[in-house]
């Protein structure tokens, strides 16, 4: 049986998937330097592995435009609607969970953002925005839009599962702290699937994370 035609046919999907898994593995097990701040190392690794590497891969290996990663507008022009449709149900679910499970006791926010509004803005806009952007580019743009472009709606759930696995491995378990991220992954996955745009998925993910924090602060 000649496997080469089969490889030739599926080589883009195979190697893209291989690249994605390898990237996540390297990220999760990248040895940290005890002499440097762990957060800074995580951010730098995220920028390099979740943003730079996919871009280089698309441009240098696949020789495709960045729109293949979702750096483009909504293809169906209902991006904002998709964002709302994704965010509202998720927040509703999150609200219910809040009252059913002891989420508030487990969900931790930096003390400084509870006492200082400027720090709250900085945290939510800059830090949460930046972190969610890294995840959007890789999991929604690279995994969902590029790699699983032919998987249909299953791609949304697959990338969410991949993201959950990644969190579990790199964060050594999933807590209530990670639930908004998982919700955001699922919701933004839907947005990305329908709009093929990372911008809208990023907007929906950020809104979910931001409003989740707000909800926590308000309910507490």
């Amino acid at each position: 049986m000649n496997i080469l035609p089969l490889l030739s046919r599926w080589k883009k999907s195979l190697l893209t998937g291989l690249f994605a898994v390898a990237t996540l593995a390297i990220y999760a097990f990248f040895p940290a330097d005890a002499r440097l701040n762990v957060t800074i190392q995580s951010v730098l690794l995220g920028v390099a592995f979740f943003v730079a590497l996919p871009i280089f891969f698309v441009r240098l290996v696949l020789r495709e435009p960045l729109s293949a990663l979702g750096f483009q507008g909504s293809i169906r022009r209902y991006g904002p609607v998709a964002v709302l449709l994704a965010v509202v149900p998720i927040l509703s679910i999150w609200y219910v969970l809040f009252h059913v499970f002891p989420v508030a006791a487990s969900y931790r926010l930096p003390a400084v953002i509870r006492t200082s509004f400027p720090f709250f803005l900085f945290y939510e806009v800059v830090l949460v925005g930046a972190i969610s952007f890294l995840y959007e580019v890789f999991f929604r743009g690279f995994v969902l839009i590029l790699w699983l472009r032919n998987a249909g709606l299953w791609a949304v759930f697959f990338q969410t599962g991949l993201f959950a696995s990644f969190l579990a491995v790199s964060g050594r378990g999933i807590t209530w702290q990670d639930v908004p991220l998982l919700f955001a992954s699922l919701a933004s996955g839907f947005v990305a699937h329908y709009t093929r745009s990372v911008s809208y998925s990023w907007a929906s993910a950020w809104l979910i994370l931001f409003l989740s924090d707000v909800l926590i602060l308000v309910i507490r």
Partner: protein, 906 residues
């Protein structure tokens, strides 16, 4: 025959009469009737009142010379600094005494003599007083001005006096104590007159009384006493007589040979015409005659010693422009020196008891203070003696004389001197003081004091180096230098008797043995000698006990270029030189807590070659044993050979009694017990006095205990697998470089477990401890006594940190607490348990292997110098690049599907 009979009868009757008279009037009665003498009457009176005649004589003799002992004004100087450097400001401070004026009303006339400068005392005064008046002001910046009213008229005797006619100035001759009044000498010769022309008033000495002989060859005509002007009475000194002599007339001859110096002339009494005496006439003493009675007091009695500007008089109340220029004062400022005095008042030195100038080598300073003394004059007025005080030897009086004044009807003789300004100036060189001289330091020697501690040290000649350390300290009480500029030289001597006869100098031996690092050096005001002297150092005193150590310090300071100041002192210490030691034990109590006995020995460990601080502390325990509060300590001196007797224990100077009611061990006095009751940081000194049974000499031994808070130290059992973190190096007091390791942070090979042990301070505290270990918060059972061996921590990642902690409860046994209460009265509530704990961190590090050598080791070392951010970035880029390259390479190997190629072409 009849005559004989008659004679016999008469004689018998006479004898009988005498006998009867003798019975009626005894001899004593006859003498008692004699007239008593004056001296016998005075003697009887003094005897009646119990007054010793010799005492009266003594008082009288002192009274006779009391006038020469009166306290006359004096002045002393002190300098600051006492050792001035060239160009440095020096301040001389005057301390006048025995003046009736306040200090600010005295006239201080300073004079400064520069080396190689003028020899004229007027110049000396001018230089000093110009400095005072000008006070360093810049003369060139003075503007010419009108009279600024800065004159000052200086009355005699001080600023608070008034110049009147009865100002009497005096000077005391330091050689005979006589006070001389200033003024012209008495004019005696001019006021004597003889009745006959050719005769002159002369004083004659009645040294010979010879018969008149008109044949004398050189006799002078002598007449009666001369007359004295102002109705006075002529007077000669002593027994000399006042007579008129005609020295040019020699009548007749005299047969004696002494006709050259002594011309003898008969004196014919005018009333009888008979010669009565013969006198010696000496022309040389003829002027000694004085006129007593209504003599006229001399005029111009006082003067000042102020320096004068050329052509001007200082202190006359007029301070002219010429004087302003001369003294360098500001013509437009009445107080150039800004001290509250007018310029002329500063020139006369009114109240200027301090003088500051820039010292130059060879400078000498002097001072004359004018003021009114506390001595009254003999004149019939309210005057007190106006006098001068000199800073040095005073002034020898010359040109003396006297005059006689009628005071209160009595002829009073007043000694006088005609000393003038030049005479006083000649005195000034005797009153110069060198600021560096002995005059202000009073001593060329350094006053040194040496002390040493402890009082009764013990020498250890066994080689275990547990002897006390003697520290000797020298202190100087009159140093003019910083301690670092004083050279100290120490000498240590030994003797077997306290008198230090024939001592042996062991300074060199101590240095050779390393017991004394240096014995001479600048600022070396203290030395410490560990008394670990072996027989080689002790020499002839090896078997002596006690020995006496004399520590002598000689201090030398370079006082100035003219020489050094030195001083030395010593201290003698009694050193116990026995090979016996007071041994200490942890005491144990019986169950009822009514008696104690010796347990295991403590503070006896010795590390031959101490490598760590713990080793050193262990050895130090032999000198100062670390103990805990509420412990019972037993003491023992080895007396198995019965070579000691009459034991006397003391603890901190108080008797430490021990009998069988305390312990069955207390039988011969060689053992004792005490409870540690002080707080941490307190030192307990135990002293044992005993008598050597063979020599009869007293033996003194001491032992020191230091109360500490109990503590735990966690250590590695195998330092090849788990070791304290290396911190760096430090330079010890001996100059050696030592490695420094952390006590709280450890490192281990990732593959190794955690095998650690606890060490207690003091070490025997572990015996009463109950311990609980934790590793990363989990309780860890002891693997052995005081040890844990956790293997679960092996195999971790590099950088993993494990937290190890141990908590120990130190509780005295109940029997000990009962003993503390029963024997020493320490309430049991105060002897409860104590908890101590310790935590350390152990970090996994990459364990170096044999492969980590050569080139790898070089790269490893090189990477150590690269910033961690850079190495992180390189690792990140290389990882991503490798991934990208690998996937891209594989991608390029696999051919594209035709559809894809078609797609790309389109």
């Amino acid at each position: 025959m009849k005559q004989n009979t008659l004679c016999r009868k008469i004689c018998s009757a006479g004898i009988a009469a005498v006998f009867l008279l003798g019975q009626v009037f005894p001899v004593a009665s006859v003498f008692a009737l004699s007239i008593p003498s004056t001296s016998s009457v005075i003697g009887d009176v003094l005897s009646t009142f119990h007054v010793d005649q010799s005492s009266v004589q003594n008082v009288g003799e002192s009274f006779n010379v009391a006038s020469t002992k009166a306290y006359s004004p004096e002045v002393s100087l002190s300098f600051s600094p006492s050792d001035p450097k060239e160009g440095q400001k020096v301040t001389a401070k005057a301390f006048p005494l025995y003046f009736s004026n306040p200090t600010n009303q005295l006239y201080f006339t300073w004079f400064l003599k520069r080396k190689g400068g003028s020899n004229n005392p007027e110049d000396w005064k001018t230089e000093a007083m110009r400095m005072l008046a000008n006070d360093g002001a810049d003369v060139n910046r003075f503007l010419p001005g009108a009279d600024d009213d800065d004159g000052y008229k200086a009355p005699y005797g001080g600023g608070d006096k008034t110049s009147v006619d009865n100002s009497w100035c005096y000077i005391k001759d330091p050689s005979n104590g006589t006070f001389y009044e200033l003024g012209p000498l008495s004019s005696s010769p001019a006021i004597f007159t003889c009745g006959t022309d050719g005769y002159q008033a002369s004083c004659l000495s009645a040294v010979q009384n010879i018969a008149a002989d008109n044949s004398s060859t050189a006799a002078y005509q002598i007449d009666g006493p001369p007359n004295c002007s102002d109705n006075g009475t002529p007077s000669c000194t002593g027994t000399q007589l006042t007579r008129c002599v005609n020295p040019s007339v020699a009548s007749g001859t005299f047969g004696l040979s002494d006709t050259v110096q002594r011309r003898v002339a008969p004196y014919t009494d005018p009333s009888t015409g008979n010669p009565v005496f013969n006198y010696v006439y000496d022309p040389a003493v003829e002027n000694n005659m004085t006129c007593q009675g209504n003599a006229t007091p001399p005029a111009d009695k006082c003067s000042h010693l102020f320096p004068d500007a050329d052509g001007y008089t200082t202190g006359d109340g007029r301070f002219t422009a010429g004087e302003e220029r001369f003294w360098g004062t500001n013509p437009a400022d009445p107080d150039t020196a800004k001290n509250g005095n007018k310029d002329e008042a500063n020139v006369v030195g009114l109240g200027r008891d301090t003088f500051t100038w820039n010292y130059q080598q060879g400078d000498q300073i002097g001072l004359v203070v004018e003021g009114t003394s506390m001595l009254s004059t003999k004149h019939d007025d309210s005057s007190m003696m106006i006098m001068w005080a000199f800073s040095g030897d005073g002034c020898r009086v010359v040109h003396t004389g006297s005059y006689t004044a009628s005071i209160k009807g009595y002829a009073v003789t007043i000694p006088t001197t005609s000393m003038g300004r030049n005479d006083f100036n000649k005195c000034l060189k005797d009153n110069l003081v060198d600021p560096l001289g002995a005059g202000q330091t009073n001593s060329k020697n350094i006053e040194l004091d040496v002390s040493a501690t402890p009082d009764n040290p013990t020498n250890d000649k066994t080689g275990e180096k547990s002897g006390d350390t003697v520290t000797a300290t020298a202190s100087i009480t009159n140093s003019s230098k910083a301690d670092s500029e004083v050279t100290y030289e120490w000498k240590v001597e030994l003797s077997d008797i306290a008198g230090m006869n024939n001592p042996t100098d062991i300074t060199g031996s101590l240095k050779s043995a390393g017991l004394l690092s240096v014995s001479k050096g600048n600022g070396l005001n203290s030395i410490s000698i560990p008394l670990n002297m072996g027989d080689s150092i002790l020499g002839a005193f090896a078997s002596s006990n006690p020995v006496y150590m004399r520590i002598t310090s000689t201090a030398t300071e370079n006082f100035n270029s003219q020489g050094d100041r030195t001083g030395h002192s010593d201290v003698i210490i009694k050193v116990s030189n026995s090979d016996k030691k007071i041994r200490s034990y942890a005491a144990t109590a019986n169950d009822s807590g009514t008696a104690v006995s010796l347990g295991h020995e403590i503070c006896s460990d010795y590390v031959t070659n101490p490598q760590t601080a713990q080793d050193a502390m262990t050895n130090l325990d032999r000198i100062s044993c670390r103990v805990m509060k509420n412990e019972i300590i037993g003491l023992k001196i080895d007396n198995t050979a019965n070579d000691l007797k009459d034991f006397s224990w003391q603890i901190d100077g108080k008797s430490l009694a021990c009998d069988t009611s305390i312990s069955p061990d207390c039988t011969d006095g060689s053992k004792a017990f005490f409870a540690v009751t002080g707080e941490a940081g307190t030192t307990i000194n135990v002293k044992l006095d005993a008598v050597n049974t063979s020599t009869g000499k007293a033996v003194t031994l001491t032992r020191m205990f230091n109360i500490v808070n109990p503590d735990i130290v966690i250590e590695s059992v195998d330092k090849t697998l788990l070791w304290p973190r290396y911190l760096g190096q430090y330079v010890g007091l001996n100059g050696a470089t030592n490695d420094d390791y952390s006590e709280n942070f450890f490192e281990k090979a990732s593959s190794a477990g955690i095998h650690m042990k606890a060490r207690f301070v003091p070490s025997f505290a572990g015996n009463i401890s109950t311990r609980q270990w934790q590793v990363n918060g989990h309780v860890e059972p002891e693997w052995a006594v005081m040890e844990i061996n956790n293997t679960s921590t092996s195999g971790g990642n590099t950088g993993d940190v494990a937290n190890i902690s141990v908590s120990a409860v130190l509780a005295q046994p109940a029997s000990t607490r009962l003993a503390l209460q029963n024997i020493w009265g320490i309430d049991a509530t105060k002897t409860a348990e104590v908890t101590v704990s310790k935590s350390v961190q152990v970090t996994n590090i990459a364990f170096p292997t044999a492969a980590d050598s050569g080139v790898k080791k070089f790269y490893a070392a090189l990477s150590g110098y690269v910033p961690p951010a850079l190495t992180f970035a390189i690792r990140m880029i290389l990882s991503g690049g490798l991934l990208l390259f690998t996937v891209g390479f594989v991608f390029s190997l696999i051919p594209n599907a035709p559809a894809d190629d078609e797609t790309r072409r389109r």
